[in-house]
C-alpha cells in the first residue's frame, strides 16, 4: 500500500513543526525519516498514523484520502519508541489485544486467536515468553513483542518511531537485520523514524532527511551519501572534511594551503567539502592541491585505518578524517606527528552562504606524480 503525503503543515502553538511536507512512499518500500531531534520526523510519523492531526495537507493510502479517517480505522501497525506494552497484561495478552477488541461478529474464536498469537510469538522467536509480563523482559525482547503486537492485525503499513533507539549496539544490529527480513517476507510498506544516520542508510530503500520541519532531500542511501543536495545533508550524513578559502583566478587559497579548481566558478568565498573516501594522502604535495596536514591519531579498528589530521599553516573548524587501507598503512607506517598532504579526487564546492553544492572532479592528468602516492 503506497503512502502519499501532500503539503502537510503542523503547528504547535507558535512553533511550526512541519512546513508544507510532501513525500511519496511507493508500495512495499522501507523508508527512513532521518533528522536531528526537533526536525519534525516523529510528528510526521504520528500524522501518517492518525495519532496527530495536520493543520493543512492530505494523507493518502493507496490513492485514498485518509486525512479525516480516525486512527482506529486506518489499520496501520505502530511501534512506539518506548514500546508502550500494556504493563498489566502478559505478552500473549498484549499480542492478542487487537484481535480481542474486534467487534464480536468480526472476532475470531478464542482458539484461533490463541493460535494466531502463538504464531506471531514464534515469528519473533519469543514463543516461550507468552506468559511473562513486560516488566520481566529485556529491552530487545520488549521491542520484538511490540513488533509482534503491531503485526497482529496484518497491517499493510508499518510505522516505527525510533524503533531501536533505546537498545544497545549489538541488539540493535540484530533487530535491524531481522526487521529487514521481516519486511521482505511480509511485503508491507514501512516508515521508520531515526536520528541514527547509519541505521537509516543501512535499512532503508529511501531516506528522507529532515531539518527544521522540512524535507531536505529524499534519495536512496547511495545517492544521499555520494550526492548530498544541501549543506545540511552533507553535515548530517557522515564525517566531512572542509577546506574554506578565497578564490583568485582558478586557485582557492587559505594561509599556506591552496587547491587549483578545474573550472573557475563565480564567487570568491568558497568551501570545499570532501568525504573521507574522496581524499587521498601523499607524502609530497600534488600539482593541483597543497593541503599540508599533521597526523593526530591513528585508529586501527575496523575495515580501514582511520587517521585524524590537523591542518598545518591553515585552519579548519573540525579536524580532518581520512581512511586508508590496512595494506597502505603497512607500507607507509604513519606515526602520530608525521606530516602528509591531502589530495582531493572529488570535492563538492559550496559558496559561503549558499545552499546547493556543485561537484568537482579532477582528471587523471591534472593529478601528477603518481610515485608519491601511497
Amino acid at each position: 500500500m503506497s503512502i502519499s503525503i501532500e503539503g502537510i503543515t503542523k503547528n504547535f502553538g507558535s512553533f511550526q513543526a512541519l512546513k508544507n511536507i510532501s513525500l511519496e512512499i511507493p508500495d512495499g518500500q522501507l523508508v527512513g525519516l532521518l533528522g536531528p531531534s526537533g526536525s519534525g520526523k516523529t510528528t510526521l510519523l504520528r500524522i501518517i498514523a492518525g495519532l496527530e492531526s495536520a493543520d493543512e495537507g492530505r494523507i493518502l493510502f493507496h490513492g485514498e484520502d485518509v486525512t479525516r479517517l480516525h486512527v482506529r480505522e486506518r489499520r496501520v501497525g505502530f511501534v512506539f519508541q518506548h514500546y508502550a506494552l500494556f504493563r498489566h497484561m502478559t505478552v500473549a495478552q498484549n499480542v492478542a489485544f487487537g484481535l480481542d477488541v474486534l467487534p464480536s461478529r468480526e472476532r475470531p474464536p478464542a482458539a484461533e486467536i490463541h493460535k494466531r498469537v502463538q504464531m506471531l510469538l514464534e515469528m519473533v522467536q519469543l514463543g516461550h515468553l507468552a506468559d511473562r509480563y513486560p516488566a520481566q523482559l529485556s529491552g530487545g525482547q520488549k521491542q520484538r513483542i511490540a513488533l509482534a503486537r503491531a503485526l497482529s492485525m496484518k497491517p499493510q503499513i508499518l510505522l516505527l518511531d525510533e524503533p531501536f533507539g533505546a537498545l544497545d549496539a549489538k541488539v540493535r544490529k540484530d533487530l535491524r537485520r531481522w526487521l529487514r527480513t521481516l519486511h521482505e517476507e511480509f511485503h508491507f510498506t514501512s516508515v521508520f523514524v531515526t536520528h541514527d544516520q547509519e541505521e537509516a542508510l543501512e535499512l532503508s530503500d529511501q531516506v528522507a532527511v529532515m531539518s527544521a520541519g522540512k524535507i531536505e532531500q529524499v534519495d536512496t542511501p547511495q545517492k544521499l551519501y555520494a550526492q548530498p543536495s544541501s549543506r545540511f545533508v552533507f553535515d548530517f550524513l557522515g564525517q566531512v572534511n572542509v577546506f574554506r578559502g578565497e578564490r583568485s583566478d582558478s586557485t582557492l587559497r587559505q594561509g599556506d594551503a591552496w587547491v587549483r579548481l578545474p573550472d573557475a566558478a563565480g564567487a570568491t568565498s568558497l568551501q570545499l567539502y570532501m568525504r573521507s573516501h574522496e581524499v587521498r594522502l601523499q607524502t609530497t604535495p600534488a600539482a593541483h592541491a597543497h593541503l599540508p596536514l599533521r597526523i593526530e591519531s591513528v585508529s586501527l579498528v575496523g575495515a580501514e585505518v582511520r587517521l585524524e589530521l590537523s591542518p598545518v599553516g591553515w585552519s579548519s573548524e573540525e579536524p580532518w578524517e581520512v581512511g586508508i587501507t590496512h595494506a597502505q598503512f603497512n607500507t607507509w607506517q604513519p606515526q602520530r606527528g608525521d606530516q602528509c598532504f591531502a589530495v582531493p579526487q572529488v570535492a563538492h564546492l559550496i559558496e559561503v552562504d549558499a545552499h546547493t553544492p556543485h561537484t568537482l572532479r579532477w582528471e587523471a592528468g591534472e593529478m601528477d606524480d603518481p610515485a608519491a602516492m601511497i
Binding site: L51, R72, A84, F86, R87, G98, V101, A150
Partner: protein, 287 residues
Amino acid sequence: MQQRRTMRAGDQPLVKWTLIGLAIITTLLMLVIPLVLIFDMAFSAGAGNYWDNLTNQYTRHAIGLTLLVAALTVPINLVFGVFLAWLVTRFEFPGRKALITLIDIPFAVSPVVAGLLYLLLYGSNGWIGSWLMDNEVQLMFAWPGIVMVTVFVTCPFVARELIPLMQQQGREEEEAGVVLGATGWQLFRRITLPNIQWALLYGVVLTNARAVGEFGAVSVVSGNIRGETNTLSLHIELLYQDYNVVGSFAAASLLAGIALITIVVKSFVEWRQARQRAPLAELSDGR
C-alpha cells in the same frame, strides 16, 4: 575532620530515644487512649444498653441517612474524579493548570464556609434557591442539601489520587490501544482502569470515610431535624447535648469502627500500590 563529617543529626542514642519516646507518648495520649475511651464509654452501661442505644429509632434513622449520603456521594465523586483526572492528564487546553489548582478548593475552604455558601445559593432566600422554591423544590434543610455539601467537601479525593499517577503513566499505552482498534470505552476498561484501579480504590476509601464523618458543612445545611435530616455525626452531638453521654458514645463508636476499617483497607491498598509500582523487584523475588 573526616570522621566528624559522617556524623548525622540524631545519631546520638539519647536524641534518638528521646524523640521516639515523645512520639509514642503523643500517639498514646492523642490517638490511642481517646479511641479506647470511646468504646469504653459506649459500653459503660453494659452491652444490652449499647444495643438499645444503637437500635433507637432516631439512631437507626441517622445511620440510614448517613449510609444514603455515602452511597450517593461516593459514586458521584468516583465518576467526577475519573472524568476530571482523564481531562487534565490526557488533553491540553487553556486553563488546564488553573483547573488542577481549583480542584483543591474544597480542601482549602473550611467546611462550615462551604455549607454557608450553599445555603446562600440554594436556601429559600438564595439566588437559585428562591427560584427552586417557587417550583417547589427544597434542597436545603433536607437530604439533597446534605448530599450536595458532602459531594463538594469530598470531591478532590479521587481526582487528587489519580492525577499524579495518570501523569506519570502517560498516554502511550492508550495510543497503542487505539492504533490496534480499541474504542474509547475499551481503552478505558482494558488499559486505563487496570492501571489506576488501586489509586482509584484508595480515593474511594478516603471519600467514603470523609462522607460518613462530615460534620461542619452538613450541620449548616441540615437544620438538625431529628429523625429527618440528622446524620450520624450530627446525631452524636445532639445526644451529647441531651446529656445522653452513653448514647452519644455508642453512636460515636460506629464512626470510630468505620475509621478503623478505613485504616485497614487503606493500608492494604497502599501495600498493593507499592507492589504495582515495583513489579520488577517483586518478580525477581518470585523467580
